[in-house]
């Protein structure tokens, strides 16, 4: 079968993956699993409950955020 590679823009940076993957798998690969984060995919929030289902496709733009100190 044909090999397929995808590109994702995560927090403004280009990342390559040699296969499609779910949000869960992405977080796993980024060691962000079970961290207190929130994700926006192409301008839409990805509910935590959907991390397993949603499969990321080539060209997806993601914002992955955490809480930091601020006033």
């Amino acid at each position: 079968m044909l090999f397929k590679m995808i590109q994702l823009i995560i927090n403004g940076q280009l990342h390559h993956f040699d296969t499609t993957l779910s949000v869960d798998q992405l977080l796993e690969s980024m060691t962000l699993m079970n961290k207190r984060i929130a994700i926006e995919r192409n301008g839409q929030i990805v509910p935590r409950s959907k991390f397993g289902e949603q499969t990321l496709v080539d060209g997806d733009q993601l914002e992955i955020v955490i809480a930091v100190g601020g006033g």
Binding site: N11, L32, R36, I66, A67, V68, G71
Partner: protein, 266 residues
Amino acid sequence: MDTLNISDKAYSSRLLIGTGKYKDLTQTREAIDASGAQIITIAVRRTNIGQSPDEPNMLDLLPPSQYTLLPNTAGCFTADEAIRTLHLARELLDGHSLVKLEVLGDLKTLYPNIVETIKAAKILVKEGFHLMVYTSDDPIVAKQLEDIGCVAIMPLASLIGSGMGILNPWNLQIIINNAKVPVIVDAGVGTASDATISMELGCDGVLMNTAIAAAKNPVLMASAMRKAVRAGREAFLAGRMTKQPYNASPSSPINNIIASSKNKAA
């Protein structure tokens, strides 16, 4: 009991503080404790990819059971950025809807962009957010934001992080007199007396960050601010004496003084 009421929740503390600019999370923690604050602001930022997975997390520091977290939109210069940031914040905090909306005009002054703030407020209120909104000391805009449905109006005392105190107490007074929702001075407080003056004017609370974090001794300043806000609130409730610019008023009886020519004459 005298409480600050926001979105049907009562707070005994009228001092709200931010969590930025501290040396470390330990100092942040100690400052929060010393301040007695119950509402704590946080920011939402991109996670640094590849950062150490076990770096301390701001949320672990602030159990929702103990504190009301107030995610802000600091750094946003358009309604769109602010709205997306608050969507992420709500998700991050499991549906939490009480947030601080601020849309800034430029990086040099961080003065609010009123047009974008109003635009964002209209949308976010419709989406069910409870907005505590950072604004200028424009009394008409303050009223418009209240009419839109913001749960607290938070006018600046002076530029964010400037420590200049209340530059225009007259405008602030008009805002306070007109408002039916809590008015909280946000930004510009530099030292304890600034907080006391804010409360004496009739503000319902004071929100600060730099005044504490940038003090030589942040934890002691946090303690000072706690007392300063209470002192100002009590003075407001007690009702201050009226000013007499040019006429003194003796505190001791002026009669029955022992014999002397001078004060008899007087």
